[in-house]
Subunit: 318 residues, 2 copies
């Protein structure tokens, strides 16, 4: 774990560690009992893991230390399951063979198994959240799920469109990524009996920063760290902030006609040479700063933990 | 409307007509507000309609006349949205161009739009149901959704497997179809404050009958009524009850190698010649009879309405 992520865990205390362990435990339990094929694919999706940033946000939005309630575990699990469901469906549409250095569900099980696995994870997410008995929480997650679907679609509509503006890019990032960070914070706040709005605004901004930095990473690599070749977005026709900013300085840069990873890497080099990556990183850092300013009055320890979590978003790509 | 379906509506009274109108109204409202592309596809999916059998079951399981509550409208809408979501995703996997005589979402919008539309309908379903405030209802629908995913997957695993037994076929029908009829009845019973179990057993049996008769219809046609060529299941490699029963009498019948609609129609003729369709229809009629026997003690008018609804499942294919 990075020192920043460790600092977040330290700020959350033994309570955070314990509740994150319960989240993992519960997710493992949910993978079983759906027949051998779905259990295997759902289990792989869940155990492939990633950084569990969203469940951690749920917990810290509820408090630092977080309250060790069943409801909080449910909310954290539900958010991560929706995240997993969207990844599995995205991989089907992209025909992606690898994610996080492992074969995708669509690669190992085929499109039918992957579509069913995504649907399963979606429905488990809502069942898990509803078990806590808060209709408001289910509404929050359903709204985010709807917007994630819209974001995924927007991205495909915008493929290969070099006239996508920064504003439209940010609107798409909000839909495809930031709404789930917002929902994570809102669910944590709701579970703690608090007002979800202000923490939601914090979550949305760090979600935007997260996506921008993810797009920077696609250009900068290195592949050893990201687990995928540089320029994967370019190969998919996805017009991201680094490309938009780079084209303001070097309008000849184009992603149309990019077919091989070597060609994509060459375009990445050219984007990097314009200084667009630095500018994109600055935009992300500004969003993180705004996120911190958006934090409402909170106990000092919780504020510090959330600020640290926001910094971790940046740190992982520094 | 058929005379049987009209009889069901008559049994439900003006209250049923009014509540089904509210279901339609609510579904139309839900189609808007998701951006133009999703709104269009979700709207087309919703308005394509079909017979609204599942919402009607939700209502009649709550009572005849049904209580005109918001919660009942929500439950009926949620079930139909889950049904729509699964159809949209199935069409993506099958690459189906037409459904109910209209172009599918995947045909008009492509795989990405169709996958996103299905995900949207799923999340709207749970948001709609959660708005009613019953965690138990959300659990019922989530369980059914999980089983639908499993059923779809089972069907694909079993493709072209001529050794599928009647038992395995029925287990698949339960998962891919009957669980949502069960959920419809359970949700209606829950909304009326009743015990969901016995009505769920009723719903499951008529759901099985419904699927068997759907499979009979794929063989018998006629295409003018079904809106699709005969033998579509054969072309997909789906081993259904008519084929299983026909092969007991004429083991040479095979669906491997069937590539064209003409070849499929020829196999349909051969299945029909064995008398397998009559036997399959009898199995469905037995299930409907069992369903009626499974009904718990109910007010006479509600019992009659549910029995009529069960008969309508059979009548539409008689």
């Amino acid at each position: 774990m990075s020192t920043g992520a460790q600092a977040v865990v330290d700020a959350g205390g033994a309570e955070l560690t314990r509740i994150m362990d319960r989240v993992e435990q519960r997710m493992s339990e949910l993978a079983v009992g759906h027949g051998p094929v779905l259990a295997r694919h759902a289990g792989e999706t869940i155990s492939a893991g990633g950084k569990r940033l969203r469940p951690m946000l749920v917990c810290l939005a509820a408090g630092a230390p977080p309250p060790e309630t069943d409801g909080l575990v449910r909310a954290a699990v539900a958010v991560e399951l929706v995240h997993g469901a969207t990844l599995v469906h995205d991989d089907v549409l992209d025909g992606s063979a690898m994610r996080r250095g492992r074969p995708t569900v669509v690669a190992t099980g085929g499109r039918a198994a992957a579509t069913a696995t995504g649907d399963l994870l979606f429905s488990r997410a809502f069942a898990e959240l509803a078990g806590g008995g808060s209709p408001e929480s289910v509404r929050v997650l359903a709204r985010a799920s709807r917007e994630l679907a819209l974001g995924e679609l927007t991205q495909r509509e915008d493929a290969y469109r070099l006239d996508v503006t920064v504003e439209r890019y940010l609107a798409r990032c909000r839909l495809k990524t930031a709404v789930l960070f917002r929902a994570a914070c809102e669910l944590g706040a709701l579970e703690a009996g608090g007002e979800p709005g202000a923490l939601g605004a914090f979550g949305e901004r760090i979600g935007l920063a997260f996506q921008i930095l993810d797009d920077v990473l696609d250009v900068s690599g290195p592949p050893e760290r990201t687990g995928k070749p540089r320029g994967t977005d370019l190969l998919d026709g996805t017009v991201t902030l680094p490309l938009i900013l780079a084209r303001e300085r070097d309008p000849e840069i184009d992603l149309r006609g990019v077919r091989t990873t070597d060609e994509a890497a060459a375009v990445c080099d050219r984007i990097e040479a314009t200084g667009a990556l630095e500018e994109a990183r600055c935009r992300a850092a500004e969003l993180v700063a705004e996120a911190k300013l958006a934090l409402p009055a909170l106990p000092l320890r919780q504020r510090e933990a959330l600020e640290l979590a926001a910094d971790v978003m940046v740190e992982r790509y520094a």
